[in-house]
């Protein structure tokens, strides 16, 4: 069988904020249906890396190919790229003035120009997929953190993305609500979704990640299967970080 091309291919990615270089030459490939887990100390550039992938942050240098499209090329319609890359944020960022259904249908209607009925049907299916079929009419303020994050995931899924980027999806949640979100992510993985996940949920990484990438100071220090990174890290910096999070 011929090897499929990567969904996401990052080469020599650099990003500076003013004088500080936050990403110092990142190379990363994400293959179809792969779940790549990104770990690293605070400030190492994990969020910036994800945000460069859909150009919420403008890269300073390097190339990013998404599904064959050079997203930094001058002629690229970035909105067309973005709707095929789902993004899930630490703080959910649901639209507070819209119901769960409204949150999910907005892009379906405004970006994909679906008629209302079709958009509603797609959104209802997406909400059902994250276990919230009965919450269509609820406003974000009426939902728990875990439910809000699942609506946010449904919002991304409804656009049938080629990949979904998760930036610490469970960090803002009370411990007892983390499980429901991780379960949805596990289901997604089963369904073959390509995912890049920044998270501190090591149990989830061990169970679900194909590959763990350790970042420090804007560089990828080491990457490999979860067992290798957590069990036998090669670099001192990785070892120090893994020791620290395992102890906590």
């Amino acid at each position: 069988m011929q090897r499929e091309p990567p969904v996401l291919s990052i080469r020599g990615l650099r990003k500076s904020f003013g004088a500080t270089e936050v990403l110092r030459g990142i190379d990363l490939d994400v293959r179809p249906r792969e779940l790549v887990f990104v770990i690293g100390p605070s400030g190492s550039g994990k969020s910036t890396l994800l945000r460069c992938c859909n150009r919420l942050e403008e890269p300073s240098d390097g190339s990013i190919l998404f599904d064959g499209t050079d997203i930094r090329a001058p002629g690229t319609d970035i909105n067309a790229v973005r709707r095929r890359i789902g993004m899930v944020f630490q703080s959910f960022n649901l639209y507070p003035h819209m119901t769960a259904l409204g949150n999910v249908t907005l892009a379906l209607r405004q970006v994909l120009k679906k008629p209302r009925r079709e958009a509603d049907e797609i959104a209802a299916a997406a909400l059902a997929r994250v276990g919230l079929a009965d919450k269509q009419g609820a406003y974000p303020g009426e939902l728990s953190g875990g439910q809000q994050q699942r609506v946010a995931i449904a919002r991304a899924l409804a656009l049938e993305p080629k990949a979904v980027l998760f930036d610490e999806p469970t960090s803002a949640l009370d411990p007892e609500l983390v499980g429901s979100v991780l379960q949805v992510m596990r289901d997604l993985r089963e369904a073959g979704m390509t995912m890049v996940v920044v998270s501190h949920e090591m149990g989830f990484a061990r169970a679900a990640a194909d590959r763990v990438v350790f970042m420090d100071q804007g560089e990828i220090v080491e990457e490999g299967p979860p067992a290798a990174i957590f069990g036998a890290p090669q670099h001192a910096r990785t070892r120090a970080f893994v020791d620290q999070i395992v102890r906590h």
Binding site: L56, R82, I85, N93, L94, P96, L106, A107, Q110, V111
Partner: protein, 226 residues
């Protein structure tokens, strides 16, 4: 004659009131019309300026800020008088009505821009990012995600400011606009009795009390669960 009778004869002379009621009513209509035009144009211009400012194009923003600061600093009466008495020297002679309308519109637009802009800024960055990450463009994000949230927080200050500035229609009396106050003053000078002023005050209450109530209703209507 006791004090109350004296007061009534001076301020509540029903004969005088009845005689000048039609004039005050005409003034009332002028004030309503003027206020309506000021509110519509002032809020529309203020919103337009805030939207332009959200493009964050430096030179444009600087001009908008200049406009805002200028018309927030100038007393409305000064703007009216300038337009009415100075513009003719520049080859344009606005009527008192137009001068008052334009002056109040500019002043309201300045305050409204600042309030709308504050509302737009109050919407967390994450709202923009969430919307943009689903492929919505700048305008669609502004229209569907940011503005609805911005408008809600702007309603209370905007209502207060709008009421305050539309009451400035009374300043039109200085440049010969026959609105409520001017009609009342004219009636006073003809009748040698201040009762028409009472009528004028009543007219303002009739006009603005519902507006204040409307403002309250809108405030509660636009509150939503966070």
């Amino acid at each position: 004659m006791n004090a109350w009778d004296r007061f009534a004869a001076t301020f509540l002379d029903t004969d005088v009131m009845a005689r000048y009621l039609p004039d005050i009513a005409a003034g009332f209509a002028t004030t309503v019309w003027l206020a309506l035009l000021v509110v519509l144009a002032g809020l529309a211009l203020g919103l337009a300026l805030a939207l332009l400012r959200s493009l964050r194009f430096r030179p444009l923003s600087a001009l908008i800020v200049l406009h805002v600061d200028l018309f927030r600093a100038l007393p409305p009466l000064v703007v009216i008088v300038l337009l009415y008495f100075a513009m003719p020297n520049a080859g344009w002679s606005p009527s008192g009505f137009v001068a008052t309308w334009l002056a109040l519109t500019l002043v309201l637009s300045a305050f409204a821009e600042e309030i709308f802009w504050g509302g737009i800024l109050s919407v967390p960055k994450g709202q923009w990012e969430a919307a943009r990450s689903t492929g919505l463009g700048f305008l669609a994000t502004l229209t569907w995600v940011v503005l609805p949230q911005a408008i809600r927080v702007t309603i209370p200050p905007l209502t207060n400011r709008t009421i305050a500035i539309t009451k400035g229609t009374a300043l039109g009396s200085v440049v010969a606009v026959s609105e409520i106050l001017a009609s009342a003053q004219t009636a006073v000078s003809f009748s040698f009795n201040p009762s028409p002023l009472t009528l004028g005050a009543a007219a303002y209450v009739v006009l603005f009390f519902p507006v204040v109530l409307f403002g309250r209703w809108v405030e509660t209507r636009f509150a939503w669960k966070r």
